[in-house]
Symmetry: C2
Subunit: 177 residues, 2 copies
DNA sequence: AAGGTTCTGGACCATTTGGTCCAGAATAGG
DNA sequence: CCTATTCTGGACCAAATGGTCCAGAACCTT
């Protein structure tokens, strides 16, 4: 999965894949069928994990606004800590494959829908509790946050410096006041 | 250029390239040297065009806030009008190649720096004129807008519906109040 | 029409691509 | 210990990859 994640679909060869998975060619085709299906499996697994993480965060019951901040800041902290900036698999797919591959596109759409939904729930709660301003519609704010998150993912991959990303996060958050 | 733009680097074969450019193989290698250099040429040309466009907009002297809105909304209007959603070449590069290709990365960085700079100038003017609130730092707002733009580019490529993108644009803009 | 220059089509190259297949090694169960 | 099952390494495949090279067509200029 990590190979696809950091190199993208087209740039990942079967050799790369087999090396990374420590699997024989025969077993690979036995399990996955072909390269494309293996990629789909990786994408689905990634999306599920990511959704589960945000879901757990939402359900934790912490301050909504603070949880959102953590979610955004997570994008900044991760890439610097790891070897290479692989970003978000779904964003990578959206850019590399979604326009030409309907199967991938629907997986991307599904992931984004679920993320938007979780943000929406979080925001609605924050508005009820008073931590987030009710002057703006919760649905709109959810979409806005999802967009900001995707933007950050791109900026981080592009290698923008930490200060710039910090500025972005804090400016995004002011929309919640 | 359009082929690279819509298919990405790795997924574009020499055959695709030659067909699209209507050029013989020999002439291609005469002009560009190799595939990678051809891509760099396309990227540089794209970035220059894009910067020139925003620059012209900034220099037009119109209402800063309105010009920003047009710039953001441009991302939404384009993809639906054209055949396929190719998005922004620089964003595509940032995602597909920047982390593994220093030459591409610096081109991406340069483009983003220039865009940020133009946004900064536009915002500073808007603040001086009063159309944009001065409660936030112009540099931060510029980075914030660049981020929002990248996000929109991803969302559009992912095939999010028009209403969602509209919501995002208008919510982004409220940060200028 | 002759000459020189520019461009082209395609032959050709080694390498790599995703994918199939099977003999045999390793493992597990009795 | 012997059989079943699972897994592996590698041979093999046709097709496509990026790239080189050159004979000749097409184009100017004189």
């Amino acid at each position: 999965m990590h190979v696809f994640w950091s190199k993208g679909y087209a740039a990942t060869s079967m050799t790369d894949l087999l090396d990374a998975m420590g699997l024989s060619k025969s077993s690979f085709y036995e399990f996955f069928g072909n390269k494309h299906d293996a990629f789909m499996a990786a994408l689905r697994r990634y999306a599920d994990r990511e959704v589960a993480r945000l879901d757990a965060s939402v359900c934790s019951g912490g301050c909504a606004r603070r949880l959102i901040e953590i979610q955004l800041r997570g994008v900044i902290d991760r890439p610097t800590g790891e070897g290479d900036r692989r970003g978000c698999l779904t964003v990578n797919c959206a850019v590399e494959l979604a326009p030409h591959d309907p199967v991938i596109e629907s997986a991307v759409t599904a992931h984004m829908d679920r993320m938007e939904e979780l943000f929406h729930r979080l925001i609605a709660r924050g508005q009820a509790e008073g931590g987030i301003s009710s002057r703006q519609d919760a649905r709109m704010l959810a979409r806005y946050l999802l967009n900001g998150l995707c933007g950050l993912q791109v900026m981080a991959k592009a290698g923008r410096d930490a200060k710039s990303l910090e500025d972005v996060v804090s400016t995004i958050l002011t929309a919640l006041d």
